[in-house]
């Protein structure tokens, strides 16, 4: 089926708009059209949410309930939140819209030999913006199979816009409820055998000529929560030559269990622990993907990636998310997702705040960085475009 007002496939070729798709949804469509391999899926647009809310008669009710709400009155907020969410989860979705969502889901399933589990997650219009992070405030549901479950959880995502916490947050920050909307992403669950993060700089010193990669077995949740030490590699960004490599212990992995429809933790054997979890080619592919993402977004990126079991080698690297690297780019730290919220990280394997490299040896450059750019007073230096002072300083350095 084709993308339309209510459904937009990642690869549907429609220009993504943040107000239609929310932050995550727009990002996934953008990445797909830029040739960055994200797991396939579609977005249930804000237009669908808006029409549902309107036609089901919920909008008017909400404005009434929220009118004079006191954010400090937690019991009252909880009551209002429950009422609104009950409305959203129970009132009927217009038939034509519902039919389109079912068709989209079936279209997605038809791409695989057998139906695969999907993740359903909210994609708020204000989320993921570098300066106004709502990260962790909406919900994510994993391992869903069959449309009844998917449809039900799309509504749960919609409802998550009105959790007590979200209501209080908006009240306290004077964010109006008018125009509030929510898109929902339906995406194939990544069946990660190895996953991790990559940054298009060296977080130890902000050096933009490097790509830093953390990688571990299974989905990345244990990396995020610090339960395993991942492999950490630094590569030269231009030539992709390895600069440093630290093999992490990676003592355990979270892997999808088809029968339990969830992740199970298991021990990693000694042999797999002791070697790097990525081959040279895979490492290079991750770095190249990070580079593409940076080139596309025109600023340093922090990407999340995974190698998918369901896809053939060489074609199994998936880009889960790419976001601006904020620590060094904006000189301020990112707000980490609260652990245990089951955010985006757990859906697709890794956390929304990437684990920082344990330590990359020898990053501090010796010498005085100013030395090379200082121009000596020698009149000879100007004309030929070289600096004698710098040449002298260069020779005098303690080491090269």
């Amino acid at each position: 089926m084709h993308s339309n007002e209510f459904i937009q496939f990642f690869d549907g070729g429609v220009e993504p708009k943040l107000e239609n798709l929310g932050g995550k949804g727009a990002s996934l469509v953008t990445m797909t059209s830029a040739g960055m391999p994200v797991p396939p899926g579609f977005v249930v647009t804000t237009a669908q949410f808006d029409r549902f809310m309107q036609e089901a008669g919920i909008t008017g009710h909400i404005h009434q309930l929220l009118a004079d709400l006191d954010p400090e009155d937690v019991a009252e907020v909880d009551k209002v939140s429950a009422a609104i969410r009950e409305d959203i989860c129970s009132r009927p979705v217009p038939d034509d819209m519902r039919a389109q969502t079912i068709e989209a889901y079936e279209d997605l399933m038809s791409r695989f030999d057998a139906p695969v589990p999907v993740a359903v997650r909210s994609s708020a219009t204000a989320e993921d913006l570098p300066d106004a992070s709502f990260a962790g405030q909406q919900d994510t549901y994993l391992w869903l199979e069959g449309f009844p479950a998917v449809g039900e959880h799309i509504r749960s995502c919609w409802a998550s816009l009105y959790t007590s916490r979200a209501i209080i947050y908006r009240l306290k920050n004077n964010i109006p409820n008018e125009g509030l909307s929510m898109a929902v992403v339906v995406q194939k669950m990544v069946n990660a055998k190895v996953s991790g993060v990559a940054m298009t700089l060296d977080p130890a010193n902000g050096d933009r000529s490097k790509i830093t990669i953390d990688a571990s077995y299974g989905v990345g949740e244990m990396v995020v929560s610090g339960q395993v030490t991942p492999d950490n590699m630094v590569l030269d960004k231009v030539t992709l030559v390895p600069i440093t490599e630290h093999i992490g212990d990676k003592h355990a992995e979270l892997v999808p269990d088809a029968t339990a429809r969830s992740l199970v933790e298991r021990e990693v054997d000694a042999e797999r622990r002791s070697r790097r979890c990525l081959t040279d080619d895979e490492l290079k592919a991750v770095a190249q993907m990070a580079k593409r993402a940076e080139k596309h977004y025109k600023c340093p990126q922090d990407i999340e990636w995974a190698l998918d079991h369901d896809l053939p080698d060489g074609d199994n690297l998936l880009l889960l998310q790419s976001r601006p690297e904020t620590v060094h780019s904006a000189k301020k730290s990112v707000t980490a997702a609260a652990p245990g919220t089951g955010g985006y990280a757990s859906v697709l394997g890794v956390g929304s705040s990437s684990p920082k490299a344990p330590d990359t040896a020898g990053n501090a450059a010796a010498g005085n960085p100013g030395a090379s750019t200082s121009v000596s007073g020698n009149p000879a230096s100007g004309t030929a475009g070289f600096s004698l002072g710098s040449i002298t300083a260069s020779l005098m350095k303690a080491s090269i």
Binding site: K237, A384, F386, T392, K397
Partner: protein, 622 residues
């Protein structure tokens, strides 16, 4: 951390039969008993990159001229603030070097002189380099005019009638002195731009290391290295000749290239053969002034005197062309890749830093190619002519009965040759027998025995206690003598996974293949398509081999060694400076060469040999 030490010179065992070796070299080249304390306090590293095998006494000339002239530019011409020249000694037949720092309190005073002098060169680079070519070519042309003819039985009548009043022996003596002088002259010129090339490179290198911490050395080298350099020209000429032969359909003329005359006669007799011969003659001058070695040994074979070597390469190229292979270097791809690398690093910088990057790279890209290109003019061309003249002199004196083998002159040092010449002209002048034929054959036999005995031992990589950190810029850059390298030699370096060798990551890429160990250029014909070349050191004239092999491993050499440059040029992985690759690895072993990490693994080795640095241990290597 307390540093382990290398052996003291006096602790190295003298190989059996080499006793008394000190006396075959000039007194000033060997460690002195009376200076033992001072000399033992210094760190000396072995330059086996340029002098991989034992010097015959005459051959120290190359080492002496080269290292002396390198030093003079640091300490007398350019006034490098913190580095004087390099002291050197011959020990047990090998050359050891020790860089001389400038005392702290003198550094500042040298800076203005240094900047004035270096500034002048960098500002007038093109013009001065043009002059350099004229000067060097002039030296070579004059050398070519020198000859060592047998003295006549009587002075020609013409000299009587013109009242010349000279017997001609003075010409012989002058020619010898002049030949030495001319070689010395071109060695001075050799370093006029070399140190400057390294200085410009170092300036860019340090800048890159500051703005891109840990940037691979390979990346920096790629950004300044010339892609199409003169060093590749002789090989390119052979490729063109092979293409022309295929074009003319005269491949069959190259069936037995060992017979040079017959091969050339067959070509000449073929249709279009004249055209090929004309092209061949054109290529010979000057590009066949190319040695299979490195120009520092009297036994080096030069293409123009051993045309079976270039003809053999041409035949091999013809075969590969007939098999449909592409024999040309991927120059366009290399240029494109180089430009991409420069552009991407450049784009990582902004504003002033980008401008500084441009200026420094431009200077390095202008000055550095000399480092690669001078080699043809001095080591190959100048030294080719020099050794040819020396052989002519040696044969003349051999005919006079001074020694038993035509090239035995090499067992005399150059000052003894002057004595022997005077001995010759004296005997000739007075009408008596010279003393040499009585004295030299026996002495030469004794020395031959010593040289052969010395050859049974490899040099120690270094002598005495190394400094905590190796800081001297030229030592690091020219010889790849880094703190890490020294650690490796001392057996304290990081171990290679699965056992194996570590060296410089000189040219990127990973391949597996079978080893072909080559100790001598005469073995090059054994190299098969797709093998991995393992050698002590490689020479520029091995170029044609690089089109056949998959990777290179050398014992000696850094990022800027010949093997490294050529492999980057051919897009082959290379690991240089492994210390012991050629002695650890055996022909036929399967290797995994990682030129990106700088490691070599022996994959299917039944009897894994112990891996060690070149060490002081002896082994047979002839």
């Amino acid at each position: 951390m307390s540093m382990k030490s290398f052996p003291k010179p006096s602790e190295l065992p003298v190989p059996a039969g080499a006793e008394g070796w000190e006396k075959i070299y000039p007194y000033y080249l060997v460690f002195q008993d009376k200076l033992k304390d001072q000399e033992d306090a210094k760190f000396w590293f072995c330059d086996s990159q340029h002098w991989p095998t034992v010097f015959k006494p005459f051959e120290t000339i190359g080492g002496e001229f080269a290292v002396k002239c390198l030093g003079q530019y640091n300490s007398r011409h350019l006034m490098i603030p913190n580095a004087n020249g390099i002291e050197f000694r011959v020990h047990l037949g090998y050359l050891y070097m020790s860089p001389i720092p400038v005392p702290e309190d003198q550094i500042a005073a040298r800076v203005p002189h240094f900047e004035q002098r270096v500034g002048h060169y960098f500002q007038n680079w093109e013009e001065l380099l043009k002059q350099w070519h004229v000067k060097v070519r002039g030296t070579i042309d004059e050398m070519e005019t020198i000859s060592f003819k047998k003295l006549p039985d009587m002075v020609p009548m013409e000299d009587i009638t013109t009242g010349k009043a000279m017997d001609g022996s003075e010409v012989l003596l002058e020619n010898y002195d002049r030949l030495i002088q001319l070689a010395y002259q071109n060695w001075q010129y050799h370093f006029e731009f070399l140190n400057l090339g390294y200085i410009a490179y170092l300036d860019f290198f340090n800048f890159c290391k500051e703005v891109f911490p840990n940037i691979p050395d390979q990346s920096i080298a790629t950004m300044v290295q010339g892609v199409d350099m003169e060093l590749f020209r002789p090989d390119d000429e052979l490729k063109q000749l092979a293409k022309l032969a295929v074009e003319l359909g005269i491949q069959s003329a190259f069936a037995n290239t060992d017979d040079v005359d017959a091969t050339l006669a067959t070509v000449r007799a073929s249709a279009g053969g004249d055209r090929w011969i004309a092209r061949y003659e054109e290529a010979k001058d000057p590009w066949f002034n190319f040695t299979v070695g490195n120009g520092f040994y009297g036994h080096d074979k030069y293409w123009n005197e051993h045309q079976e070597i270039p003809l053999g390469y041409i035949a091999d190229y013809i075969r590969r062309l007939d098999e449909g292979q592409n024999i040309m270097r991927p120059v366009a791809e290399l240029v494109a890749e180089k430009e991409r690398i420069v552009e991407e690093y450049r784009d990582l910088l902004e504003g002033e830093a980008q401008a500084v990057f441009d200026a420094k790279r431009q200077l390095a890209a202008t000055a550095y190619p000399y480092v690669e290109n001078h080699n043809f003019y001095i080591e190959h061309w100048t030294m080719g002519v020099f050794w040819r003249k020396i052989r002519e002199l040696s044969r003349m004196m051999h005919a006079e009965g001074f020694w038993t083998e035509p090239e035995d002159l090499l067992y005399l040092n150059r000052n003894e040759v002057r004595d022997a010449l005077f001995d010759l002209v004296t005997g000739w002048g007075v009408g008596a027998e010279p003393i040499g034929p009585t004295y030299w054959p026996e002495e030469i036999e004794r020395r031959r025995g010593i040289v052969n005995a010395l050859k049974t031992a490899r040099p120690a990589p270094a002598l005495n206690t190394p400094p905590e950190i190796i800081t001297e810029p030229f030592t690091r850059m020219l010889w790849g003598i880094t703190t890490e390298q020294v650690q490796q030699w001392l057996g304290e370096g990081e171990e290679v996974e699965g056992g194996g060798l570590r060296g410089m990551a000189a040219s990127p890429g990973v391949v597996e293949g079978y080893a072909r160990v080559v100790h001598d250029s005469d073995q090059l014909a054994e190299v098969q398509q797709g093998e991995i070349l393992v050698a002590t050191v490689t020479a520029p004239s091995w170029g044609p081999i690089f089109g056949k092999i998959k990777a290179t491993v050398t014992d000696i050499g850094g990022m800027m060694s010949h093997a490294a440059i050529v492999c980057r040029e051919y897009g082959l992985p290379a690991v240089t400076g492994t210390g012991s690759g050629s002695t650890t690895i055996k022909t036929g072993q399967r290797l995994r060469v990682d030129g990106t990490k700088g490691t070599v693994q022996i994959l299917d080795d039944d009897a894994a040999p112990a891996v060690a640095g070149p060490g002081a241990h002896s082994h047979s290597h002839v």
